[in-house]
């Protein structure tokens, strides 16, 4: 019966829209009826007045007839709902505290969960934006250790005695491609190229891709053409580039004339042939796209010349490989076939050492990009902890809503009994409560939606370092929002309806009597109390974790880096090989160093590589003269001292004290005997019983694989090196002036001038020397340290705000339940006081109850903490996971808050006037 429904809706709509006309028509129709009846009666001989009276009498109550007519049109329902809504709004406005807390906690819970789930979803579960991403497989070279693989550029890891390498030598890739039953495509994420496009020099990330990459990814450029096999066949042939959608917008303003233009990348001219579609991120990451896509065989030319045999070497493993497993093709068979081919290619190129294994090929899921493994390794744990914490907040908010609704319904029991007694139906009262719950939930939900929408990009920004480009864009997930909303809203509805349902089931008279004369502690409050205890337990968990993370952060912040980190600007420069081959790269750094030193307000400048506290490590052999060389142990890479290549004025600029011997000086040049300064840890580890000054060691090989001696001229104090978390270890400092090739190093500029004023001056100075050299990663040393601690800070910030929210909610919960109990027990208290109880006794009676509740909750919470804390132990620093100080402090804080919250109701109880209380009701 579709038509009646449609008619019904049409009628309802018409009557809503033309409500006044409808009311007038009802009046008209009824008065016509009465007039006609009167006329008939007059006709039968009655007097007009008597006839009118008679007509009205026969008709009965017009009001109820009108009501019947309205409800026939569905208007009654609408009117009731509107009335409910008005009533609910009035009630909510009457208790702004309740409303604010309920709405805010809902909003925060929904917002926080939407945000964190969206980010986690994007980081952990999103797939590449290509057709049928699940078909993509990454190729790994894998086999029992030791593998016959010695030089890699990529990531290697061990997994139960099995070595894994995510890259292959270029000739093997070509061999596999030729003989394999499936199409194999290669790529390499290169990091930054120095690019001058449209006259602006900047460092932009590039991905080198094979000629069949686009065909296999099944991605079509939105403009122009993709990189084709013909670009990639002969090394150095196809000087072409495809832009990412983002870079096209940023550097070319999305101009369609971009095709055919050229850009300068590391000193080479590349012709722009295409623009990727938006959303396509290449093969490495799902979240961010490299700006440039360049033929793979162009890499040796554009790469900083650290190896010139990339294309020919069969023992340098560097190309990442992927394939598509089409439906109907077995992945195992393919892997076996590829392994056989790799084996053959390996043997054709040379023989492995007797104890080494030739790796086989393993195929693993490539749908999340090749960087997925490292992303999850880095972010998986923190994200899961955050997910768990925000889940707790959601639970807490639910408990809070439940508690608030329970207390509210209990308070309104009397009102409901009165309404029942006056003839309201139970359904009608339930509907009213439901309307109120829905109103509250909708308010909280919409605020939460706003919060979640605004914050979805904030969290990833917090997770990145402050100075890197925030190019993540987390899509807003409606499903996640819907889930979080549904959970909280359902809680609100359930705990709003349930007590009302139970409450209205009672006999009206019983309820009226009971509320009037309740004398002792009410059993029916137990559910509220257990919810409050749960709230306190959850709060303990959140407050303790925030205490642990805050202590971790302060511990880490308190660490002295060992050098003067204030007023020290860091930035990188990377002279490309094409313009600065070989030692001229060293010369340009020296030239820039001098130029910057003369800048106004600069009190010192030096160059370092790698920079401090940027998670970069460098080490080399350390063969001490007169001692057997250190045997390489793959389980302990820290057996060699770390290396830092530095400028001549390094120690003066950083303020690292020299303990013995001397720092570098003008006498140490590229041609003078090579020297080195070691730190105290190196001296202690490698020269425990002798004076290191004057001793010699060999480290790196030169071009002809000959190692040269360096003489130790000084010992400096210990400093941190790659990470704040890693305690100072052995480091030796070499002069970069003695390097044969030096790139990608970091400038340290000491100046009291503000960064915003200093940087443009520096940019001018550098631009005058080479306009194609961009300054990258400009940050202060403090920002660099902060970035090194960003994960710890994120945890501290989030858990503290969660903890604070939890405290607030628990506080409200305790206050609410105690205030409620005191109101309920006013009679009892009055009797006690009348019988001679002292006011202090009454107060402590209430406080004692709150205390019992809190201690129960805190004990449960602490137990949870002790059980769960090992999950975060690797994230903590400088304290034991079951840190007694944090646990005690959190417990005491919660106890104090609980007592504070209970104080007001306790005070109120102790001020009860016996006479008034007994007359109450």
């Amino acid at each position: 019966m579709i038509r009646p429904l449609r008619t019904r809706l049409a009628i309802l709509l018409r009557s809503i829209l033309h409500r006044n006309r409808l009311e007038a028509e009802i009046d008209d129709e009824l008065s016509f009826h009465l007039e006609a009846r009167t006329a008939d009666l007059v006709h039968r001989g009655l007097a007009p007045r008597e006839a009118a009276r008679q007509a009205r009498l026969e008709f009965g109550a017009t009001a109820s007839a009108k009501d019947g007519m309205r409800s026939a049109f569905g208007l009654r329902w609408l009117d009731d709902t509107l009335a409910d809504l008005r009533y609910a709004i009035r009630l909510l406005r009457k208790s702004p505290g309740f409303t604010t807390i309920a709405v805010t906690s809902l909003a925060l819970a929904i917002g926080a969960n939407t945000t964190i789930f969206s980010v986690a979803n994007e980081m952990l579960y999103a797939r590449l934006a290509v057709p049928r991403p699940r078909e993509l497989r990454i190729l790994y070279a894998t086999g029992p250790r030791p593998l016959a693989v010695h030089m890699t550029w990529g990531s290697n890891w061990d997994d139960g005695g099995q070595g894994h390498i995510d890259s292959f030598p270029f000739p093997f890739y070509r061999e596999l491609q030729k003989t394999s039953p499936v199409e194999i495509f290669g790529f390499k994420d290169f990091g930054n190229l120095n690019v001058t496009a449209n006259g602006v020099a900047q460092a932009v990330p590039a991905q080198f891709v094979s000629g069949n990459f686009y065909a296999q990814m099944e991605v079509r450029p939105q403009l122009g053409r993709p990189i084709l096999p013909s670009d990639d066949n002969t090394p150095g042939q196809g000087a072409v580039v495809v832009l990412s959608d983002g870079f096209w917008h940023q550097a070319f303003g999305a101009s369609r004339d971009v095709l055919g233009q050229t850009l300068n990348a590391n000193g080479h001219l590349l012709t722009i042939v295409g623009v990727n579609p938006p959303g396509f991120t290449g093969a490495e990451s799902v979240q961010t796209s490299p700006s440039l896509f360049v033929p793979l065989t162009l890499l040796p030319q554009l790469a900083s010349g650290f190896r010139d045999d990339l294309i020919t070497s069969t023992n340098f493993w560097w190309v990442s490989l992927m394939t598509r497993i089409r439906p109907g093709v077995s992945a195992e068979t393919t892997a076996t076939a590829l392994s056989t081919q790799l084996h053959a290619a390996f043997l054709a190129a040379g023989k492995p050492k007797p104890d080494e294994h030739i790796p086989a090929v393993a195929l693993e899921d490539g749908s999340r990009g090749s960087a997925y493994r490292s992303t999850t390794e880095e972010l998986g744990r923190p994200l899961h902890v955050l997910l768990a914490l925000s889940g707790l907040v959601l639970l807490l908010a639910c408990a809070n809503i439940a508690n608030l609704m329970l207390a509210r319904v209990s308070v309104r029991r009397r009102e409901m009994s009165v309404r029942l007694a006056l003839g309201a139906s139970r359904a009608r009262i339930l509907r009213q409560v439901l309307t109120e719950s829905i109103l509250l939930s909708t308010m909280g939900g919409s605020l939460g939606l706003l919060l979640g929408y605004l914050c979805r990009n904030t969290l990833p920004r917090l997770m990145q370092s402050s100075f890197s480009e925030p190019d993540l864009n987390i899509p807003f997930h409606w499903t996640i929002f819907a889930f979080a909303s549904a959970v909280t809203l359902l809680t609100g509805l359930l705990f709003g309806i349930l007590p009302a349902w139970l409450g209205t089931r009672e006999e009206v008279s019983a309820s009226l009597k009971e509320t009037a004369r309740s004398t002792t502690r009410r059993r029916s409050a137990w559910s509220s109390k257990s919810i409050v205890a749960l709230q306190i337990a959850l709060s303990t968990l959140l407050v303790t974790s925030s205490a642990l993370f805050l202590r971790t952060l302060t511990n880490l912040n308190r660490i002295d880096p060992g050098f003067h980190a204030d007023h020290l600007l860091n930035f990188e420069l990377s002279p490309p090989v094409a313009r600065y081959p070989g030692t001229s790269s060293v010369a340009i750094y020296q030239r820039l160093e001098q130029a910057i030193a003369s800048a106004p307000g600069v009190s010192g400048v030096t160059v370092v590589s790698p920079p401090f506290l940027a998670d970069n490590m460098w080490n080399n052999d350390f063969d001490i003269e007169g001692q057997p060389p250190i045997v390489y142990n793959p389980d302990d890479p820290g057996q060699y001292p770390s290396l830092m290549n530095v400028g001549e004025r390094f120690f003066a600029v950083t303020g690292i004290p020299i303990l013995r011997g001397r720092a570098f000086g003008p006498q140490d040049t590229a041609t003078s005997p090579a020297v080195s300064v070691i730190n105290e840890a190196t001296a202690r580890k490698f020269f425990p019983h002798s004076d290191p000054i004057g001793r010699r060691f060999k480290d790196d090989e030169d071009k002809d694989h000959v190692k040269h001696f360096r003489t130790i001229v000084g010992v400096c104090a210990n400093t941190l090196y790659n990470s704040v978390r890693t305690p100072p270890g052995p480091i030796h400092f070499d002069l970069y002036a003695t390097q044969k090739d030096f790139r990608g190093a970091t400038f340290l500029v000491r100046s009291q001038r503000p960064v915003s004023a200093l940087v443009p001056d520096l940019r001018d100075i550098i631009g005058r020397i080479d306009p194609d050299l961009p300054m990258t990663n400009i940050r202060t040393q403090r920002q660099q340290i902060d970035a090194n601690l960003h994960q710890e800070r994120l945890f501290a910030i989030l858990t503290s705000s969660f903890g604070l929210l939890a405290l607030l909610l628990a506080c409200v919960g305790i206050y609410g339940i105690m205030a409620y109990t005191v109101t309920q027990r006013t009679n009892e208290i009055g009797i006690r006081l009348a019988l001679g109880a002292r006011r202090a006794q009454v107060r402590s009676m209430v406080l004692r109850e709150a205390l019992t509740l809190s201690i129960l909750g805190i004990a449960a919470g602490l137990t949870l903490v002790l059980v769960l804390v090992h999950l975060v132990s690797t994230i903590l620093y400088g304290l034991r996971p079951r840190d007694p100080a944090s646990l005690t402090a959190s417990a005491l804080l919660l106890l104090a808050i609980a007592l504070l919250a209970a104080w007001i109701p306790a005070q109120r109880a102790s001020h009860v006037e016996p006479m008034k209380a007994l007359r109450h009701d």
Binding site: E29, F32, A65, F73, G74
Partner: protein, 119 residues
């Protein structure tokens, strides 16, 4: 006046449909026609007539139109729609069936009422 009978629950709408099926009528006209059909034996609560009319209108069985009445006053006239015709036929059939069954039951005499074993 002869003995009057209160209307059975749920029959008012059927009577309205029947009354209107003979031609457009306003509310008061419907009341008169039903009373007239019943030979003044049925009492119709005038107050409940209008909600019933509105329910039928909302369900699409009746269409309405404002037009001048016999004494030239504006009145709301009800006519039967196609749906109303079908509903009338259906309801009449159901009524006849019901009254046949109930009539049959009421005609039963004592012996046939002896308990039958069930199951």
């Amino acid at each position: 006046m002869s003995r009057q009978v209160d209307l059975l629950q749920g029959t008012l709408e059927l009577l309205i449909l029947k009354a209107v099926s003979l031609g457009p009528l306003h509310g008061y006209g419907i009341l008169l026609r039903i009373t007239q059909f019943s030979g003044d034996q049925l009492i119709i609560q005038q107050g409940s007539l209008y909600p019933a009319l509105y329910r039928l209108e909302a369900s699409g069985a009746l269409a309405t139109e404002w037009a001048p009445s016999e004494n030239n006053r504006r009145a709301k006239f009800y006519t039967l729609t196609d749906l109303g015709h079908r509903q009338l036929a259906l309801e009449s059939e159901r009524w006849r069936e019901m009254s046949r069954i109930i009539g049959a039951i009421l005609k039963l005499t004592a012996p046939t009422l002896l308990p039958e074993r069930i199951g």
